[in-house]
Amino acid sequence: MWSTDFAAALTLLTFILMFTVLFWDNLALRWNSAANYRTMQTDAFFAGEALMTSPGDPPSWEMLPHVDENVSSIGIANGRNELNAYKLQRLVAENSTSYYLVRARLGVQRYGLGVRITDLDGDTLYYEFGEQPGPEVSVVVLKRLGMLNGTPVSVEIKVWK
């Protein structure tokens, strides 16, 4: 009788322990994933702010022959939310060669980056930089507003992993 009780208790205990380990492992994965998403979101916020409120460093980086290590930060604004068309044109022109550098200067080198400047309705695309995420990735999408050549525009910033 004692050994039957013992066997039953041992079986139950083993089952409960296995379940607990698997459950916490799964929960830890979800928490980790949530923390990673939160970090990505925070990085996206700061990248968006840098783009929308600063001219970059050097302030006339768009006039340099090459966008390389001499550019320590990237911005597309003359003043707060006032977008500079020349900076945008240069950013688009450098898309194939400086994509990694621009991401690094915006602090999102660990992620993919896509920036689209459209009219407020999103119907007309003015400028597009970076790439677009696939359907299977975790994406942070930010909508910001700015002025381009005296007209309000929408700036959509996507950061993903």
Binding site: A9, N26, A35, M52, K143, L145
Partner: protein
């Protein structure tokens, strides 16, 4: 009898354990994100664009259509209200986004000054997430 009672105890404990685990696992689990940072950034964007586009000045002059138009481009879950007060403290204009009720989650408030026709005004913008949005 003793063995039966122990087994019943264990059975009840296992049921409780499974129930608790199931509730924890199936509950909506969304990461907390510093959404207030984005809300503040977007509110600043909105007021800046309204100012540079001349919508705030037009509103002081009596035409609030530009402000209403811009309010339509806030994200769906964001509510916003912009008030303009003159230097005497009299509220000149208040424009709020349609279909927004009382204050919801993560209220953000920004203020800035504006000079229009030689008069000093204060612009106060309040933004919040709609209540039905759960983080």
């Amino acid at each position: 009898m003793k063995a039966f009672l122990i087994t019943l105890d264990a059975f009840v404990a296992i049921i409780l354990l499974f129930s608790a685990a199931f509730l924890m696992y199936s509950s909506s689990f969304q990461p907390y994100a510093p959404r207030g940072v984005y809300l503040k950034q977007f509110t600043n964007d909105m007021v800046t664009v309204m100012e540079k586009n001349g919508d705030l000045g037009s509103a002081i002059a009596g035409n609030t259509s530009g402000m209403h138009y811009m309010m339509g481009f806030t994200p769906q879950l964001v509510c916003m209200q912009v008030s303009i007060t003159d230097s005497a403290g009299n509220r000149s204009v208040t424009v709020a986004k349609d279909e927004c009720g009382e204050y919801g989650r993560e209220l953000q408030v920004i203020g800035r000054s504006l000079v229009y026709s030689g008069q000093l005004y204060t612009v106060k913008a309040e933004a919040w997430y709609k209540k039905e949005q759960v983080t």
